[in-house]
């Protein structure tokens, strides 16, 4: 098959992107009327356009719009890979480590327990009840690590939105939840990068040391030195280069360079993007408008393409395993609720507020879906587990706000 990008391929690619973007926006806006998260609308469009619905009822149209092979498919895969890198860059920009440092005992305890307890319970479930899950035996340790991470991760944007809607963002409960979510995301993504770097190197003890060393070395270098260089350069960039073009191209350029670097040293590209996001978003010199533009650009152009593309990959009906979905959902809610509530309670909060913190941190949102997609692409999990994770992410995001409201004092 020729890999030349023909006129037809370009037409197919542009048509697919156009349909994905417009339908995603329309359905998401409709979902917003019913207070559903935007990501849900995007996933529904994916399911409608993918093998689950369109591929089932009109296989010819589906094959024409989203060919299974060829240059158009490669180009679309390239765009969605870029999208996930940019999503992780924006996720990094949301990590404000100062917020964790600023908060007191309750935030520190909650951060630690909301990470450690779900991770440990998730890991132990896979390790001691392997019959509930499907994985290759050689990946047992890595799979257990992944499932622990999937239980521990949170979604800062969803949580921040819930706190703002409830008008408790600036309260002690609100800041504790945000601080813990930041800590969970940071450690969760570092851990996940480690897991991805282990894939395919099972059994090689040196690869574990290499991965840990590289992640720590790169992370420390970027957070201590790279961050400072960016902070020094930003005022110049924002005042001397075209506005906002200068800062936009520089930020995304650095994001891709960093992602390329981590990919080249055997770590996943997402790590580079995530760490660069932290370094960039941390700068006090970054103008509010620039931050807004980067967020808008990524979440409104690339995020829909990414989330719609998930529905194109997997048949959600065929791979819906009620037993697995129930287990994953039950474990996710219990692990996070117990972990986060315990930390908040030990940190001096009342019982009701501690439970509210637990439900706040329970929202997994888009971050869990990204985590699941990367694991699916890496061959670590199967489609059934992926669907279970997506359902869990959506259900936990939907239940978080009402339950927080019910318990908060």
């Amino acid at each position: 098959m020729s890999l030349k990008f023909s006129h037809n391929d370009l037409f197919t690619l542009l048509l697919a992107i156009g349909v994905m973007l417009i339908l995603a926006r329309l359905v998401s806006e409709l979902g917003k009327k019913f207070k559903l998260p935007i990501v849900m609308g995007e996933l529904i469009v994916g399911i409608l356009l993918g093998p689950t619905i369109l591929g089932w009822f009109c296989p010819e149209v589906f094959a024409a719009l989203f060919p299974k092979a060829g240059p158009a498919k490669i180009a679309l895969d390239g765009i969605t890979s870029m999208a996930v890198i940019m999503l992780l860059f924006v996720a990094g920009m949301e990590v404000q480590l100062q917020i964790v440092l600023k908060q007191g005992k309750a935030a520190i305890y909650t951060s630690l327990t909301s990470m450690i307890i779900p991770f440990t319970l998730g890991f132990c479930t896979v390790w001691f009840v392997p019959q509930w899950f499907h994985y290759e035996e050689k990946y047992r340790f890595v799979y257990a690590l992944f499932f622990g991470t999937a239980m521990a991760i949170s979604a800062i944007p969803v949580i921040a939105k819930i706190l703002m809607d409830l008008n408790i963002y600036k309260t002690k409960v609100g800041m504790t939840v945000i601080a813990a979510a930041i800590f969970d995301d940071l450690t969760g993504w570092l851990l996940f990068s480690f897991i991805l770097s282990l894939m395919g190197k099972e059994g090689e003890i040196t690869s574990v040391g290499y991965s840990v060393g590289m992640i720590l070395g790169f992370g420390l270098f970027m957070l201590l030195i790279g961050r400072r260089i960016i902070d020094r350069a930003l005022p110049w960039v924002q005042s001397k280069l075209s506005w906002p073009g200068g800062v936009l191209s520089l930020s995304l350029g650095l994001c891709f360079l960093c992602a390329a670097f981590t990919e080249s040293i055997g770590l996943h590209a997402i790590l580079g993007a995530f760490i660069m996001g932290i370094a960039f978003g941390d700068s006090a010199h970054l103008h509010e408008k620039a931050r807004e533009i980067i967020h808008q650009f990524v979440t409104n152009v690339f995020a829909p393409l990414f989330f719609v593309s998930l529905g194109l990959k997997v048949n959600f009906i065929q791979n819906f395993d009620p037993w697995l979905v129930t287990i994953v959902l039950f474990l996710a809610v219990i692990c996070k609720l117990v972990g986060a509530s315990l930390g908040a309670y030990l940190g001096g909060m009342s019982k009701r507020n501690s439970i509210a913190v637990g439900f706040g941190l329970n929202a997994r949102g888009a971050m869990e879906i990204i985590l699941g997609t990367l694991a699916l692409d890496a061959g670590l999990i199967d489609e059934k587990m992926f669907v279970a994770l997506v359902v869990m992410a959506l259900v936990t995001s939907l239940m978080s706000g009402p339950l927080m409201k019910r318990f908060i004092e």
Partner: protein, 293 residues
């Protein structure tokens, strides 16, 4: 040195009844003493001059000469010569003598290594159990303070910081104070990125600013000053950084901020926040108010 901490606890943040000056035999000795004398005279406070180090004839005569130059009589001040670690000894003396205001000369910016490891003035500013005045450009003929900017961060300490600023403004003859309301917009950008319409976004922003401003209005009402006018100014940016930048841009004479809420370590300097932004690059003279709550 034993100190009775109960005397310090709940002691109001003002008036500044007792002032201490850390004496260092640097070229700025006379100007720091001159500024201290002026403040002491305006506030009617007692004055304690502290030097951490050996008492030698040479140092004694240098201090006497500097005091004479700026007009501090021996009877106006108590002089202490103490051995030991500069930071801990000064902090201990301030607690022992129940000092309300400690005056220090400070460079606008320290070199990176010194900043991370902790210089004398910065370390004391983070740890002191009394208010600290950092003088960046002390002068033998101090100029009149005209512009005072107060950081209005959302904290129980801010009420004390504002009332202390008003007390100081009244004594210094300053007519206007600007109370800065710093709005951090990082979270707004994140939450509004994909799910808010333009009117929703602007409504959300407006409500957030209004909420903060109404809190500050409440604090202003409680100040009850007739001679000082307090104006609220809302600025966007990270807490600490925005106030410092505003003070620099407006060429303020004095920036007044809260003392830190917790012990500030090296991590707080690496992932800079709040007071650390200001200590990293002092925009003007800075008064750190310890509210002792």
């Amino acid at each position: 040195m034993k100190f009775d901490l109960s005397k310090l606890k709940k002691r109001p943040s003002h008036p500044f009844e007792s002032i201490a000056v850390a004496v260092a035999f640097s070229p700025r000795l006379e100007s720091v003493l001159s500024e201290a004398k002026r403040i002491k005279d305006l506030l009617g406070s007692s004055l304690l001059l502290v030097h951490i180090g050996e008492k030698t004839k040479k140092k004694e005569s240098l201090l006497e000469k500097a005091m004479a130059t700026v007009g501090i009589k021996e009877s106006d001040a108590t002089i202490l010569w103490e051995p030991g670690s500069p930071v801990n000894t000064i902090l201990g003396l301030c607690k022992y003598h129940i000092i309300d205001l400690l005056i220090l000369g400070a460079l606008e910016k320290e070199n990176i290594l010194k900043f991370y490891l902790g210089s004398f003035a910065r370390t004391i500013s983070r740890k002191a159990k009394c208010s600290v005045l950092l003088l960046t450009h002390p002068s033998i003929a101090p100029s009149k303070v005209k512009k005072i900017i107060v950081s209005g961060v959302d904290s129980p300490k801010t009420a004390h910081t504002l009332s202390t600023s008003v007390y100081l403004a009244e004594k210094l003859g300053v007519k206007d104070i600007t109370l800065v309301n710093e709005v951090e917009s990082d979270v707004m950008a994140m939450t509004m990125a994909d799910s808010s319409t333009a009117p929703e976004a602007s409504k959300m922003k407006k409500e957030m600013v209004q909420q903060e401003e109404s809190k500050l209005q409440g604090l202003i009402k409680n100040c009850k000053s007739t001679s000082v006018n307090i104006e609220i100014k809302t600025i966007k940016g990270k807490s600490g950084y925005a106030a410092g930048k505003y003070a620099r841009d407006r060429k303020a004479d004095l920036l007044v901020i809260n003392s830190p809420d917790k012990h500030m370590g090296i991590l707080d300097r690496i992932f800079t926040h709040d007071i650390e932004y200001i200590l990293a690059d002092l925009p003007c003279d800075v008064l750190i108010v310890h509210s002792r709550i």
